[in-house]
């Protein structure tokens, strides 16, 4: 709590203009700094930073459950994790999600964003399709629905007997789907779960890309059209390079969301799906900690999850840097 008080001095010294009134350590100024910086920072350090730091230590202990005693075991938890088949399965599933879900979401969202902003006909002004604001409003709906509720709705839609999907499929004559368990078959459980996540994310990222595209001067699209670029060609060669930074941000957000697919998978397949085909790392971590009580081991899983998250972000930056260099060289 005392830290912010002496900290005022150097900032004041650097601003000669405000030296007169600013220099004095009045009650007003001291209380201001303590409350404004100290209070939020204290909360943040105690409830966010300290658990992160403690996790690194707990991950090297054999702490099991609520006993106060545990031993420091170094990296044994990590070697155990490397041989844990179920955990390895969950890592694979999470990585698969982090590759497929952002890719599918960004492709669809970019297509929709282009359609509602610049794809409104090859003649006349650069504009979106008619009724584009309706599509934009509707596709954003899922963002206002809590993830757990989306999961519950879709679990019902996928229901083998009473579900909407099989109802539609049998109504159009596909009798073999009469009681097909979309979430109960190894082949379809994961794709069906991925679709739900994409369904939920597309609207938000469409709106995000629409905002980015609106920042691009219309002349650029006009020039592309005069050069004979079609719609898809325009998305690939004009829109994508120009809103590259927004796509990168979206990719990282989506990847982090896909690596933390806990809530979706808990709603769709709480026990990991058929043959653990939809089991993701966070689910395995949660069960290991709060159902089995192996806290040390579970925190080691958390460390692996954090490393994969950082690795993912680094990959996105790297890919953007590499392709960015090539594109700039070729086009400008």
């Amino acid at each position: 709590m005392t830290a912010p008080v002496p900290a005022v001095a150097p900032g004041v010294g650097r601003k000669p203009k405000a030296r007169g009134p600013r220099g004095r350590l009045t009650f007003d100024r001291v209380s201001f700094m303590v409350v404004f910086l100290g209070l939020p920072l204290a909360l943040f350090l105690v409830f966010v930073i300290s658990p992160f730091v403690q996790a690194l230590y707990y991950a090297m202990t054999d702490w099991s459950g609520f006993s106060p005693n545990f031993n420091f075991i170094g990296f044994s938890n990590y070697t155990k994790l490397a041989q844990d088949d179920i955990f390895r399965r969950s890592v694979l599933n999470s990585v698969l999600l982090a590759i497929v879900v952002p890719f599918a979401t960004i492709v669809i969202a970019l297509l929709f964003a282009s359609l509602v902003t610049v794809a409104g006909g090859a003649s006349g002004g650069i504009r979106g399709l008619r009724g584009s604001s309706f599509y934009r409003v509707v596709s954003f709906f899922p963002y206002t629905v809590p993830a757990i509720v989306i999961g519950i709705i879709w679990a019902q839609v996928y229901d083998p007997q009473a579900g909407l999907l099989n109802g539609i499929l049998t109504a159009v004559g596909l009798e073999k789907f009469k009681s097909f368990a979309w979430l109960g078959e190894v082949a379809t459980a994961m794709p069906a779960s991925m679709f739900v996540m994409v369904w939920a994310f597309v609207g938000f990222y469409t709106v995000l890309f629409v905002a980015a595209i609106k920042g691009v001067p219309a002349e650029i699209y006009e020039a592309a059209r005069l050069d004979g670029a079609g719609r898809l060609r325009t998305i690939w060669s004009v829109t994508l390079p120009l809103i590259r930074d927004n796509v990168q941000t979206a990719w990282i957000y989506l990847g982090i969301a896909a690596l933390d697919a806990f809530v979706w998978m808990q709603a769709l397949n709480p026990f990991g799906g058929p043959n653990n085909s939809t089991l993701v790392m966070p689910q395995e971590l949660f069960n290991t900690a709060f159902a089995k009580g192996q806290f040390g081991y579970a925190t080691a899983m958390g460390v692996v999850l954090a490393l994969i998250t950082l690795l993912f972000a680094a990959c996105v930056f790297l890919v953007n840097r590499l392709t960015g260099g090539r594109d700039e060289g070729g086009r400008l």
Binding site: A7, V8, G11, R22, R29, F32, V35, F36, L37, L39, P40, F44, F47, V48, I49, P51, F52, A55, I108, F112, V116, A119, G121, A122, S123, G124, G125, R127, L129, Y135, R136, V137, S139, Y143, T144, V145, P146, A147, V149, I152, I153, Q156, V157, G167, W199, G203, K214, G215, P217, G230, R231, I256, F262, V263, Q266, L285, F290, G302, A306, T309
Partner: protein, 300 residues
Amino acid sequence: MTADASTVSRAGVQGAATQTTPKANPGDRRATAVSHVILVIWSIVVLLPLLWAFVSSFKTTNEILSSPFTLPKSFSFANYISAWDTAGIGTSFFNTIVVVGCSLVLVMVLGAMCSYVLARFQFFGNRAIYYLMLAGLTFPVFLAIVPLFFILRGLGLLNTLQGLITVYVSFALPFTVFFLFAFFKSLPEEIYEAAQMDGAGEWRTFFQVMLPMARPGMASVAIFNFLGLWNQFLLPVALNTDPAKYVLSQGMASFASQAGYSVDYGALFAAVVITVLPVLIVYIIFQRQLQGSVAQGTSR
């Protein structure tokens, strides 16, 4: 601002374009039709499950299980009553309003104060705090969840709404600070100096001069924080295990897993509608502002 600029240039472009390509060719019309078909299909894919859940919420469980398409025979709110009372969705709803409401107010006040100091005062450790916040934003909550459980237990805050509010505020803080940092950074220094000249202390300068100027940014962050906290699932599931204190997302999850055994699907759909409808209606009313907020978030 960007909208104005693009309409101006659009108008210019339109004039030039009508001279060069006066009529739409058939291929172009076909592409437009295909585009509409794609967007209409997606709209149906989005709307159909939501509408289906809404209609099903008025059906009895027997009707739901017999066919996914039939309309309810009689219109009644029986499902809503049983979801609200028997399934405890009512209690969860009030808990959620208390927790999300308190957290939102606290995180906006604390986040604004913290970002204001970080953006406008230079002191030792300023950058370090900023990067620490960035780290707090990047690392997955799952890494922190086990130690957090024991921190809360040690403080006697486990399974209490106050504890949940504290954790919500702490984890929403980094995002809030980041977003508002840019806003406070852009406010002109002269205004601060003028307020100081007029004899306002630091406290008054912030609350009466600077904070009102950051109102557009505050509104955007508040919307994002509201949706984020309303949506929160892991933190309550791990840290708030007393059914009487469940928040809505938790109540829904436990209701859905119970419905597997007692099979009250009608009430489950009613609970879904109770959860979705208030926010959806607010969104439809304010959709322009909300989409504007998303736009602001990107152009930062």
